[in-house]
């Protein structure tokens, strides 16, 4: 199964997390589940790497955290986008789309 996993490109994880948070504040577990479900587990992402990315982005000020209560009534750390994070998401999405388009352009040429 590991062979079919897609290796994650540099910075892509950040983009995915930021995108996930556009629908509101979520805790780390929710983000991990959402990405796994949405990609139908095609992306191989270690949860540890996900948390590292979350904390790094918090330090950069793209997202901010607050402790809240989860659906099952437990204390959980909720992350949400800051305006700086929103800006990052816009920029990164544009860059990634352009990159993908360029790569695809090459690949589809016979």
């Amino acid at each position: 199964m590991a062979n079919n996993d897609l290796e994650l490109l540099q910075g892509t994880l950040d983009l995915l997390i930021l995108k996930t948070l556009t629908w509101g504040a979520r805790h780390g577990y929710a983000i991990a589940s959402w990405i796994r479900d949405t990609t139908q587990q095609r992306l191989q992402i270690e949860d540890g790497a996900l948390y590292t990315a979350l904390h790094r982005m918090e330090k950069r000020g793209w997202i901010e955290a607050e402790w809240g209560v989860s659906d099952n009534n437990r204390k959980a750390k909720y992350y949400q986008l800051t305006s700086k994070g929103r800006r990052q998401l816009r920029v990164k999405t544009a860059v990634w789309t352009e990159y993908a388009a360029a790569v695809f352009q090459v690949l589809k040429t016979d």
């Binding site: 805790h27 780390g28 577990y29 991990a32 589940s33 270690e46 949860d47 540890g48 790497a49 948390y51 590292t52 904390h55 790094r56 918090e58 330090k59 000020g61 901010e64 607050e66 989860s70 437990r74 204390k75 959980a76 750390k77 800051t82």
Partner: protein, 907 residues
């Protein structure tokens, strides 16, 4: 959210310690693991499988955990810094706005602190140079010393740093502790020729001087040991950098040219580096070998040449210990050498005071003169003044603290509201400190400017230097000192109100109306006023004591009329005269001087009070050793000597025309000498043998009043001989002018200069100038204590005024009630003035007691006045009470005019 509102974080109780960060990471990860396990088990796994799958999905838990805590810690640190800076910026804005809103308050505070800091920085600049800073470029300051030789004279030990060449050679040869040793002295010498001749300082030393400083010549070379060999030496000179710049425009061609220094021409061989000035503070123009200088001036004469006599002392010795030699070891070594040298001296001259009596020993002392045993009284006064300046700064701080406190009390409600809103006390403290530090730093800037301009004036007074010296703006030690003072003042003045306001009970401050919140007087403010009053009293008592000393010293009966006397010195440069020609020239000068309309009398004179003295051992029948009584100094003058000086003859006669070279030898003895040698006898007609007990009799023909010529405080045993009988070729002239001597100096100089041939010239110095350096320390003490004392008094008065005025406005209501109940304006005024006095009087008493205690240490600096001088004490207390009365009467008058209707309606 939180990031944008720093206060919010505290409000939400988010803590940020190290452990808290770690715990938060663990909590977050545990939640994640629990949730994942639950999901997997819900999907049908057993707990063991679920646990393994969770682990697999996560990756390396331990490493991730470490990575997360590292990231979070650095994030928290970053946030704290950002928060601190934003808080600081906010405080600064707040403080600046406060200053803008009350510009006069700001000006008053900055000026007060500026004066305080400036006075301190200027004093520090001086004391630093006198007592702390070693001469620049000194190679190994810790191993360098000035040498002191101690002897007991009549049972009291005197330490003498001045010595002679023979002694120096002995010390140099016998000691093993030093790797460099040099004589050193600074002499005034005529530099240049003709009209442009100026007397300037020249440093004279051995060649080891250049070893003791880590310097290289700017150009050329320094002089060598071979160029400094007695008896003649080589006439070479090393210029100081600044003289090279001003006289030679820094040109290389200066090397090899001849330069007139005193009586001889010297070849310039090099230039010392910029800023090098030898061991002393007086700026010098050149450095020359000691052999060359002494040979050129012919010191000691042919019979008693400078390099072989023990009897003249005219320079100091500086030495550098070998590495590893302790001060104690060097002192032992040096003492040994001095004792051997002393024995040699006694062998050569059996009349030398016996070893057992004088107990000679030596000491390696600090290079800085004023750190050693013979510190100048100027330096002592300067060290006192730095204490005084410190007191002024304390008073200034107390005043500023008081002003800030008054403001803080007014803002008490505002502060209570802020505390209630959750602003921490630390944060409030920071805010108050920011405000006072801002004020103090602005005051410090002003202080440095004051130190710059005031420092020049003070240096002139204290060090007698006319040069501007290094700029205060460029002196890093002084700048550091001023900044440290400013920070200290800022913290001191800020903490006082901060503690006061931070201490209050929030609830009561909020509950009370604006007035009741502050009505009770602050004990702290009263305490500050008491301290201020005490310090002012101490300073003013100091001022009073020094003023009295100055007036005493100025009214001292010198035994001669200093303000009518000019001393005329003769310098024969490049002109060789035999004794007959010399004698003729002196007589011509004397006759010319006597013929001038502005001159009343003139006389030859061997020595000059406070500048030079001459003594021989004398022998009197019936007295074993007159030396045991002390030294007897000698003056020689011509016929008009006593009329010129204004020294009264008490009994007998003065010199007359019959006391010629071949006539019987005569002398006039001073009162003290007569008392010492012939108590209760008639001295007239007594026989004194001078210099040897086989010498012919010199008969005492008169008794003169005592004169002061070595110390302002005491008279010496002194006697006078006719110049013709002693030696008419040595010394200069005293001229008694009609009217003040200082006004006639130039006239006399021009007239006498016309008789001088070749490069020779006369110098004319008013006697008052010579005495001025003697009374400088009292003048300085009187001036500085008065200035600082007045400053302190004004500051204290302003402080008292502001406190009373403030209290009065706070008590308008109470005054209204009193007036409504029938109190007269007079009663209200008395009430308030009494209150002011009640604050000040304990301070006055405290200050007086402290001044009496401190008097013990200041007594040696005073002149014939007790540190417990009653008129000074009473005067100062009166002044303080008067000032306190006025300072509280002004606001009291306002209180007395309160309209009871209005005051009571305001509630």
């Amino acid at each position: 959210m939180i990031r944008r509102f720093p206060g919010l974080r505290r409000l939400l109780h988010i803590e940020r310690g190290r452990a808290t960060v770690d715990r938060a990471v663990d909590d977050e990860l545990r939640f994640h693991f629990d949730m994942t396990m639950r999901e997997l088990m819900a999907g049908g796994m057993n707990p063991e499988e679920a646990r393994r799958e969770t682990q697999r999905r996560f990756g390396d838990v331990q490493r991730t955990r470490e990575r997360l805590t590292t990231i979070d810690r650095s994030r928290v640190g970053q946030e704290q810094r950002a928060e601190w800076w934003s808080a600081f910026a906010q405080d600064l804005r707040y403080a600046l706005r406060g200053l803008r809103l009350k510009p006069w308050f700001a000006v008053a505070v900055i000026l007060t602190l500026g004066l305080g800091i400036g006075a301190n920085a200027a004093m520090f600049g001086i004391v630093d140079r006198l007592l702390f800073r070693p001469p620049p470029f000194l190679d190994a300051p810790a191993r360098e010393s000035r040498i002191y030789l101690m002897r007991s004279i009549r049972g009291t030990e005197t330490s003498q740093s001045f010595t002679g060449y023979r002694r120096y050679l002995d010390l140099r040869e016998t000691t093993t502790s030093f790797d460099a040793m040099t004589p050193y002295y600074v002499n005034k010498a005529a530099i240049g020729t003709g009209e442009a001749t100026l007397e300037m300082n020249v440093a004279i030393s051995g060649s080891d001087l250049w070893k003791m400083f880590a310097i290289k010549p700017a150009i050329g070379r320094f002089f060598t040991a071979e160029e400094d060999v007695p008896p003649a030496g080589t006439r070479v000179a090393v210029l100081s950098y600044s003289y090279w710049q001003t006289e030679f425009g820094g040109r290389k061609e200066a090397l090899g040219t001849l330069m007139d220094i005193g009586p001889a021409k010297y070849t310039i061989v090099g230039v010392a580096p910029d800023g090098f000035n030898g061991f002393e503070l007086d700026p010098v123009v050149a450095f020359i070998p000691i052999s060359a200088e002494n040979a050129a001036v012919g010191r000691g004469g042919p019979e008693n040449p400078w390099y072989s006599t023990y009897n003249m002392t005219w320079f100091e010795v500086f030495a550098r210990r070998r590495p590893g030699v302790t001060e104690a070891a060097a002192t032992t070594d040096l003492t040994n050498a001095y004792r051997q040298s002393y024995r040699k001296q006694t062998e050569a001259n059996p009349k030398n005071q016996p070893y057992a009596l004088t107990k000679p020993h030596a000491m390696v002392g600090p290079v800085l003169r004023d750190r050693g045993p013979n510190e100048r009284s100027d330096a002592k006064v300067a060290s006192w003044l730095i204490g005084v300046a410190g007191m002024v700064l304390l008073i200034a701080c107390a005043n500023v603290a008081n002003l800030l406190l008054a403001r803080a009390l007014k803002r008490r409600r505002e502060i209570a509201v802020r505390i209630a809103l959750g602003v921490s006390r630390g944060r409030l403290l920071m805010q108050l400190l920011t405000e006072s530090l801002l004020l103090a730093i602005l005051g410090g800037g002003l202080g440095i400017a004051i130190a710059q301009w005031g420092g020049i004036a003070m240096r002139r007074l204290l060090l007698g230097q006319d040069d501007s010296g290094p700029s205060a703006f460029a002196d890093s030690r002084l700048l550091l000192f001023a900044i440290a003072l400013a920070l200290m003042a800022g913290i001191l003045t800020g903490l006082v109100p901060a503690f006061q306001t931070g201490r209050g009970d929030v609830a009561s401050a909020l509950k009370a109306g604006s007035r009741e919140g502050v009505v009770h007087r602050s004990r702290l403010r009263v305490g500050l006023l008491i301290v201020q009053a005490a310090l002012s009293v101490m300073l003013l008592i100091g001022a009073g004591l020094f003023l009295r000393s100055l007036s005493n010293v100025e009214n001292v009966h010198m035994g001669y009329d200093a303000d009518r006397l000019l001393y005329v010195g003769m310098n024969a440069r490049g002109v060789k005269r035999d004794s007959l020609q010399n004698s003729a020239l002196r007589r011509a000068l004397l006759a010319k001087a006597q013929s001038l309309p502005g001159v009343e009398h003139a006389t030859l004179a061997l020595t000059v009070p406070f500048r030079s003295s001459w003594d021989f051992s004398i022998y009197v029948a019936g007295i074993d050793s007159t030396q045991r009584l002390g030294s007897f100094t000698l003056q020689a003058g011509s016929q008009d000597f006593f009329a010129t000086m204004g020294t009264r003859i008490l009994r007998g006669r003065s010199f007359n025309s019959t006391d010629g070279e071949h006539a019987p030898l005569v002398m006039v003895a001073s009162e003290s000498m007569v008392k010492a040698l012939w108590p209760n006898q008639d001295a007239i007609g007594k026989c004194v043998r001078i210099n040897a007990d086989t010498a012919p009799c010199t008969t005492v023909v008169g008794i003169a009043e005592d004169v002061r010529r070595q110390s302002m405080a005491e008279t010496q045993m002194h006697y006078y001989m006719p110049a013709d009988q002693f030696n008419p070729n040595i010394g200069g002239l005293f001229v008694r002018t009609r009217g003040l001597a200082a006004d006639k100096g130039e006239e006399v100089r021009r007239a006498l200069q016309s008789l001088m041939d070749g490069g020779s010239y006369v110098t004319v110095t008013p006697m008052t100038t010579i005495i001025a350096s003697q009374i400088r320390s009292w003048k300085l003490g009187a001036l500085m204590f008065s200035v600082f004392g007045a400053l302190a008094l004004v500051l204290a008065a302003i402080g008292l005024y502001s406190v009373i005025a403030y209290n009065v406005t706070q008590r308008t209501h109470e005054m209204g009630v009193r007036v409504a109940l029938g109190a007269q304006p007079r009663d209200v005024i008395r009430l308030i003035v009494n209150e002011g006095l009640r604050i000040v009087l304990p301070g006055v008493a405290l200050g007086a007691v402290l001044a009496l205690v401190a008097g013990r240490w200041i007594a040696p600096l005073l002149f014939q006045v007790s540190p417990k001088d009653p008129p000074v004490l009473v005067g100062v207390v009166t002044i303080l009470v008067a000032v306190a009365t006025v300072a509280s009467w002004l606001p009291a008058r306002r209180a007395a005019r309160v309209d009871p209707n209005e005051a009571l309606r305001a509630d």
